[in-house]
Symmetry: C2
DNA sequence: GCCTTAACTTTGCCCCACAAAGTTCTTTTA
DNA sequence: TAAAAGAACTTTGTGGGGCAAAGTTAAGGC
């Protein structure tokens, strides 16, 4: 059990970063404002989580103009995909253990 | 997605409390020292997590003497079992969503 | 009579999540 | 052309909480 718990990646070990990653791994490029709405976060809060994930090189940023408006989109990197998958595997292992005693 | 994230129970939304609960739901009564070793926690740290879970009425304490040594054991309550199951269900739902884009 | 063990509690630190407000750039709108 | 507004941050400040370490209490062993 200790092993599983310590295998959880601290970078993803928070509900909001779990949410960010879950969205990014299934959508190629997601806009800043979309993330903000989907996760119900304030600007500062979202930006800090994104920055943390970006400096770990788990996500990357793409800035462009759509029409004449700036648009920032975020996507997961290969490294991020891999690390997040490992995190999910660990979570799943814990889930399995924790379900062992279920009545159903 | 927002809904799933907010459905995560804050009381369990931490690796160590996830660990504590995972152990307690599959074992009827677990000793304080066993938890400490299984989770690799210091006294103060473990005690504070246990107290948090206890005041939420998710776990309960049983104190007795074995031979002449005091022994404290912890067990999950029905309320805790239910709440934790809901938490796991939510986690599983997030896992499923996050796995949708997987290559395999 | 001291040392040890169990099981805490207390103390104090430090980091971090978070909200709110300020910032920059640019585009609408009046 | 001035003002407002939106995108995407950055900065600032506060509060909470995780954590280790040390202190505490009560009992037992030696």
């Amino acid at each position: 059990m200790k092993d599983f718990i310590t295998q959880l990646n601290p970078a993803f070990d928070h509900r909001n970063r779990l949410g960010i990653m879950s969205i990014l791994v299934v959508n190629d490029w997601v806009e800043y404002n979309t993330l903000k709405e989907l996760l119900n976060l304030t600007d500062g809060n979202l930006a800090s989580h994104l920055k943390a994930l970006e400096s770990s090189e788990y996500i990357r940023v793409h800035k462009q103009f759509v029409g004449r408006k700036p648009q920032t989109t975020y996507g997961v990197t290969d490294k991020g995909k891999e690390a997040f998958k490992a995190h999910l595997d660990t979570l799943e292992a814990i889930l399995t253990i924790a379900r062992e005693g279920e009545d159903s």
